[in-house]
Amino acid sequence: MGRAHIARTIGDTLLKVDNVSLGFGGVKALTDVSFDIAKGEIRAIIGPNGAGKSSMLNCINGFYQPSQGSISYKGVVRGAMRPYEAARGGIARTFQNIALFKGMSTLDNIMTGRLLKMKRGFLWQCLHWGPAQAEEIAHRETVERVIDFLEIQAIRKTPVGRLPYGLQKRVELGRALAAEPELLLLDEPMAGMNLEEKEDMCRFILDVNEQFGTTIALIEHDMGVVMDISDRVVVLEYGRKIADGTPDTVKADPKVIAAYLGTGHG
């Protein structure tokens, strides 16, 4: 329980969500949510279905604009922004329903994660020679390290559409890792996996956090996993924050128990 025995450095606040509200017409997806994510920690966002967890991630990476409140990243309050600007700022994510590029191989999918770091211009790309080729090879080396790390060497050249679900999830994690993000958002990384695949995925998440010092924010429904791997947990219900703290305090919180198990009406 807890991961205090592992020597990691959890630093200052990396991302701060201040009183964020998000509405779609009459539906309030998020109401007045505030929390922060510290550098180097694994932060879990949990809650029952429809609690607004994915909406929260979508706000963080610029896919939705909060209707009220603000999000500050690395101490700077962000204005309205597009997802590619968040990507440029070092935020990468994976999706609940896999969003891989189905027509491309595993290698090419992970290579797309390096796109932002590839700079050679159009004419060099036409030649695919000299500096452009050198750049391609340099990034290929980084991508091969990600492939080694995730143990997917054997499926390097396989089109991702042919891969089983668990491996597709792993390739998607690889694509996010290839961008060398500072903040990694994982939307239900273990949904639909069997026990063995979940254990693998947990190991990868912990290793990413420990070896690369990547800050991770994850949404997950498997409470066992969440309580084991995360440093702090924020709990949402009907778009409101009902609890925030270490796994142990959150677990003991009566509001959380009520949200998950229901309250007695006797």
Binding site: N61, F63, R82, P83, Y84, A86, A87, R88, A92, R93, F95, A99, L100, F101, K102, G103, M104, D108, M111, T112, G113, L115, L116, M118, R120, F122, Q125, C126, L127, H128, W129, A132, Q133, E136, I137, R140, E141, E144, R175, A176, A179
Partner: protein, 358 residues
């Protein structure tokens, strides 16, 4: 048995990322290039060169262009004919306004003009997708052809509206105009096609191609990993239109030796779309296979009944052609959306294992 990659170890990433990583493919390509550059001009008659090989090469360039836009970037376009017309008319205007300009430069410049026009008509692609985008590009097709027919400036105020390509030479050989031999035209065309195909392959296997395919496969995920959708799509429109423009210029100057808007009507756009569907969406090889198929099928259809002694009228042939194309397109869309190129790839995979089942 002969097609094995066993024992071919790659020790560097550059070897692994080559266009033809397997030795047999490299040998095959070298032989193909030798045949195309040496054997064909020596052996083929003028008639074959100018009715089969030259149109095949011109169509290949246009098909590569459309395949970049539709096959790689996923933006359906019905404006190919319009962009080809842009290239053809731009080449005519450049060639007549600056007679001393080298014809290669003229063709590249006219591709550039087509690219600029393509970018303008590509702007709606940020907002609209699929069939709606196809309709928007259809508008460009009709608008451009209308423009070239109605504005006499484009044809240098020629009263008939049909203009012939002026004679131009490369390295002392005439490649356009009446004096140009079929061999010279063919070799000029082939050199253009070889270079353009190589450039297209380089683009699609690098950073830019991956951004295009990412937009094609899932635009939302592409945006989240940092690809800017508008810039990426517009680049695809520009490159695609450049290829179509060069194809149009080659068509007008090398193939038909005359510039007329009618050659680039909506039927031309559909014809090139059929090429990439039959040949293979998202494949440079597919563009060549599709172009070869569409050029050769009518010839095949007219030759076979004659050889068998069955009398078939030309109108029946024309109808047969429509029916076979229609049937094949339905077949490919349902059974093998990646076309002939995918069938070729499957055949190679089978060949690697042959004669063993696994």
């Amino acid at each position: 048995m002969l097609y094995r990659e066993a024992g071919q170890f790659k020790t560097s990433y550059s070897a692994d990322q080559g266009i033809f990583p397997i030795l047999q493919d490299r040998i095959g390509m070298a032989i193909l290039l030798a045949v195309a550059f040496v054997a064909v001009p020596l052996l083929a008659s003028d008639y074959f060169l100018s009715t089969i090989f030259i149109p095949f090469l011109v169509f290949s360039v246009a098909a590569i262009g459309l395949n970049i836009l539709t096959g790689y970037c996923g933006q359906l376009s019905l404006g190919t004919g319009g962009f080809m017309a842009c290239g053809a008319y731009a080449a005519y205007k450049f060639a007549t306004a600056f007679p001393e300009l080298n014809i290669v430069v003229v063709f590249l410049l006219s591709g550039g003009v087509a690219a600029a026009v393509g970018v303008v008509f590509g702007v709606p692609s940020l907002r609209i997708k699929g069939f709606y985008l196809a309709v928007a590009t259809l508008a460009s097709q009709f608008f451009l052809i209308w423009l070239f027919t109605k504005v006499p400036w484009f044809v240098n105020y020629s009263p008939s509206g049909v203009i012939s390509a002026p004679p131009r030479e490369v390295f002392g050989w005439y490649v356009t105009g009446i004096e140009a031999t079929a061999e010279a035209k063919y070799l000029f065309c082939l050199a253009f096609v070889a270079v353009l195909a190589l450039v297209a392959k380089n683009l699609v296997r690098g950073r830019i191609g991956r951004a295009w395919m990412a937009i094609r496969d899932m635009d939302i995920a592409a945006e989240i990993i940092g690809i800017r959708p508008l810039q990426t799509k517009l680049l695809a429109f520009a490159v695609s239109s450049f290829y179509c423009g060069v194809a149009g210029a080659l068509w007008a100057f090398i193939y038909t030796s005359s510039v007329e808007a009618l050659a680039f009507d909506i039927n031309r756009s559909f014809q090139i779309l059929f090429m990439i569907i039959i040949g293979g969406l998202g494949s440079i090889l597919g563009a060549f296979l599709g172009a070869a198929f569409i050029v050769l099928l009518p010839i095949f259809l007219s030759a076979v009944p004659q050889a068998m002694g069955v009398p078939v009228t030309t109108s029946t042939l024309a109808h047969l052609e429509f029916m076979i194309f229609g049937g094949l397109i339905v077949f490919f869309l349902i059974v093998e959306p990646h076309g002939l190129a995918r069938l070729w790839q499957l055949a190679k995979e089978k060949l690697r294992l042959w004669p063993f089942p696994h």
